[in-house]
């Protein structure tokens, strides 16, 4: 697969790469000179424009870094299916940049409102039911066929829970992996946010238990992020506006011990720090990954997603 070739050109294997989310205010610095990161993740929709300066910017980024395409609008769990034009735009973009990874979320976005087609503009939560699993399976299959490659599906932070769910999130995702062959993108911050918002147990304990229920070899990427603290009894919003939280670093260690080295991304979307501060977060992730690898005494490239491809 082309994604592996691209990753290897930097002397890294995909499973030990560390990257950052690249957002508009950082373009200039990211393109000036070298940096310590192995890849950048961009939001696919930000590069859908086929004319103007946007394609040239993406070309420049792709010259310097392997790119992971993270889309936020695909709505893989949408019962009405995925908009065909959207998928074609994503396909064109994917063909243009040959990303090392393509990912989106276990959520729905496409629906109808008053008889008109609508896109929610947000990542809306799924019922974890057999019917929604069937919908998700068909959609993921279709996307993987159109794109001609495997995608990663990310667990969501959610602010409502449905009484219609009759399976756990991990049962749902495990079955999705089994049925479609997709990989998983585990957002550790989302696990912590959900645990804070919906669990009576300690968030770390809840999130660790969640991780233990994942299928072996399915995790292709980890997202790390922080959130704005809130008052007691308020729901935490997954705003990606802070440094990776201590809880998230702690859960990252747990995840690496369990999963082995996994491609890792620092996700910071709002209240952006300076570029060097963002890179420092990536450096910290890399040092934790090395430390865990030494403790486990296994080569960083031998485990994780590579075996699953």
């Amino acid at each position: 697969m082309s994604c592996l070739n691209t990753a290897h050109t930097r002397g890294e294997t995909l499973s030990s790469m560390v990257g950052v989310g690249l957002r508009h205010p950082h373009y200039k610095e990211a393109l000036l000179g070298s940096s310590s990161i192995d890849f950048v993740e961009v939001h696919a929709e930000n590069f859908f424009a086929e004319g103007g300066i946007v394609p040239a910017i993406l070309d420049d980024i792709a010259q310097q870094y392997p790119i992971s395409l993270h889309s936020t609008s695909m709505g893989l769990g949408s019962a009405v299916g995925i908009n065909r034009d959207y998928l074609q735009r994503l396909k064109r973009l994917s063909q243009k940049v040959t990303p090392i990874l393509i990912s989106d979320h276990a959520c729905f976005t496409w629906s109808n409102l008053n008889g008109n087609a609508v896109h929610a503009g947000d990542l809306l939560p799924l019922e974890f039911s057999q019917q929604n699993l069937q919908v998700m399976t068909e959609n993921v299959d279709k996307v993987q066929q159109v794109l001609g490659r495997k995608i990663l599906v990310e667990n969501l932070s959610s602010y409502v829970e449905f009484r219609f769910s009759n399976m756990s999130e991990t049962e749902f995702l495990t079955e999705l992996v089994n049925r479609t062959g997709c990989g998983l993108l585990v957002d550790l911050n989302n696990l912590i946010v959900n645990a804070h918002n919906f669990s009576d147990e300690s968030s770390l304990q809840t999130a660790s238990q969640w991780l233990q229920q994942l299928p072996t070899g399915a995790v292709g990427e980890i997202h790390l992020a922080g959130y704005t603290p809130v008052a007691e009894n308020e729901l935490i919003i997954d705003d990606h506006s802070q440094p990776v939280s201590d809880e998230c670093w702690s859960l990252y260690r747990t995840a690496l011990k369990q999963l082995g080295a996994v491609t890792t991304l620092i996700e910071w979307d709002n209240n952006l720090p300076s570029w060097p501060v963002l890179l420092d977060q990536a450096t910290k992730a890399r040092s934790i990954m090395s430390e865990i690898a030494i403790m486990k005494n296994v080569p960083m490239s031998e485990e994780g997603f590579l075996n699953a491809i």
């Binding site: 929709e45 859908f48 424009a49 086929e50 004319g51 103007g52 300066i53 946007v54 040239a56 609008s73 695909m74 709505g75 949408s78 019962a79 009405v80 908009n83 034009d85 959207y86 735009r89 729905f108 976005t109 496409w110 629906s111 109808n112 409102l113 008053n114 008109n116 087609a117 609508v118 896109h119 929610a120 503009g121 947000d122 809306l124 019922e127 039911s129 019917q131 929604n132 069937q134 919908v135 959610s158 602010y159 409502v160 829970e161 449905f162 219609f164 308020e234 729901l235 919003i237």
Partner: protein, 256 residues
């Protein structure tokens, strides 16, 4: 009888309807978990939509302020549903929405500025085409009835009552540097039409003023008049001078 898929569709629609529902945003006072969660989705939608509009309409944002823009955004979400999965495609109807509000009564220029900014946004994202130099050889053909000028697909011919291009340029300055007297002159009751060509040059949107004749010429070119018809209609028109500008400014795609 509804299938399970239909039932799932209806439930997803119901959540979207709640999120987009203005009534629920204003009147939902219950503080249970579901209501709190719903409010987060409602706020997310509004904030994302406001941000999307502010990126496309930076001058409108500057002139009316974020609070007024939020109010317009809330209304626009009910008139023009986001439907493509890319927020960059949403917001075209802001100008017509402004014309239905009190803002328009007090500040009639806002609708034209919004219209100008949307065109600028579209031009910035449009796909420019390279000039087909070989096609220019058709100019030497004897029968110009079958020769047609092809303009760049990013080119737009526009007319405004207010000098929106100048108002827009003035707002590229920091707020403290904007000359309020100059702005007041630009915003006063319009007396003449301002003719504009908007196009993409070196991948960047550009704007030029046009004379009445230049505008009419471009409109006729876009309408598909042959070169023969154009030269007959515009007897004194300087075709070679115009062609050189059109090539330089990347208005021209070629001749067919």
């Amino acid at each position: 009888m509804q299938s399970e898929l239909d039932i799932l569709c209806r439930r997803q629609e119901a959540l979207i309807a709640l999120i987009f529902s203005e009534q629920s945003m204003l009147e939902n006072k219950e503080e249970d978990q579901m209501s709190k969660g719903l409010k987060i989705y409602q706020n997310n939608l509004l904030m994302t939509a406001v941000r999307a509009l502010s990126l496309k309409y930076p001058v409108i944002d500057k002139m009316i302020g974020r609070e007024a823009l939020s109010g317009l955004t809330r209304k626009l979400l009910h008139i023009e549903l986001p439907a493509s999965g890319d927020w960059a495609d949403w917001g075209e109807q802001l100008s017509s929405l402004i014309m239905t509000t009190e803002l328009y009564d007090q500040h009639p220029y806002l609708a034209e500025i919004a219209s100008f900014e949307w065109c600028l946004h579209e031009t910035a994202r449009g796909v420019g085409t390279e000039l087909n130099v070989n096609a220019l050889a058709r100019l030497s053909e004897q029968n110009l009835k079958s020769v047609f000028i092809q303009l760049s697909k990013t080119l737009k011919v526009l007319s405004f009552h207010y000098p929106v291009d100048e108002i827009w340029m003035l707002h590229q300055l920091d707020e403290s540097q904007i000359d309020t007297n100059e702005l007041a002159v630009l915003l006063k009751e319009p007396i003449e039409l301002h003719r504009i060509v908007m196009y993409q040059r070196e991948a960047v949107p550009c704007v030029e003023r046009l004379t009445e004749q230049e505008q009419a010429w471009l409109i006729d070119v876009l309408a598909g008049l042959s070169l023969d018809q154009l030269l007959e209609k515009y007897v004194t028109f300087d075709l070679s001078g115009w062609l050189s500008v059109a090539i330089e400014e990347q208005w021209l795609e070629g001749l067919r």
